[in-house]
């Protein structure tokens, strides 16, 4: 059991760090602010949770505190990215020319009409 837990923790750590790297790469490569929020929020949330799980496997005594940190991130990160995306949309941020549909703008136009 002990011999299995440590390699599992290492693999989880590397997987989490890979997702963090992919999030950073998406932040650099994506064309507009909404795509960047998408890449930055989701990939890094998964990456941090996997990293914390890996550390919990390597140091089982810290599992409770790591679970608390993970729960905070799981609850607050999607919320904050949503608030930021709403602020950007209301502020009229530029969309990529590849954007096909914008349901929120359609809804707002429908309310006014």
């Amino acid at each position: 059991m002990e011999s299995l837990l440590a390699p599992l923790g290492g693999v989880l750590l590397v997987a989490g760090a890979t997702f963090l790297l992919l999030g950073g790469l998406g932040l650099v490569r994506m064309p507009d602010i909404f795509n960047r929020i998408q890449a930055g929020a989701k990939a890094t949330t998964l990456g941090t949770l996997l990293s914390l799980a890996g550390i919990a496997c390597l140091q089982p005594a810290w599992a409770a505190k790591l679970l608390l940190i993970g729960l905070f991130i799981l609850f607050t990160n999607p919320l904050s990215s949503h608030v930021l995306a709403r602020a950007a949309h209301r502020g009229g941020a530029e969309k990529s020319p590849l954007t096909a549909v914008d349901r929120l703008a359609e809804d707002q136009r429908g309310d006014q009409a």
Binding site: A87, A88, G91, G92, A93, E94
Partner: protein, 106 residues
């Protein structure tokens, strides 16, 4: 002087590069919200560096006051000032869609 492990040394060098980059943005930004954000980023990296130097209490104080309270306080005051000077010309609007003028000065 005790020797650092090469991993922690490399991580510290990366953190120092990030710290200097954020400080340069804080100095050269022409719009106030960006400068405040960059100052918060400097606090974040500084508190991680305090942890590298094995001072968790200092790092926690820096996290709560430097990165948290100061940033919030600056934004509250900035909103107050902007409300008081409705006709003011110094705080240019259009911060979100400010693609035309880059915030970092040339």
């Amino acid at each position: 002087m005790n020797s650092m492990s090469p991993l922690i040394l490399g991580l510290s060098v990366l953190l120092c590069v990030t710290l200097i980059g954020a400080a340069l943005v804080a100095i050269r930004a022409t719009r106030l919200p960006i400068a405040i954000l960059a100052a918060g980023l400097v606090s974040l990296i500084a508190s991680i560096l305090f942890l590298v130097l094995a001072a968790p209490d200092v790092a926690m104080t820096e996290a709560a006051i430097g990165s948290g309270l100061t940033t919030f306080l600056f934004f509250f005051v900035l909103a107050r000032v902007r409300g008081a000077e409705k006709d003011g010309d110094e705080l240019a609007g259009d911060e979100l869609a400010g693609v035309k003028h880059d915030g970092v000065g040339k």
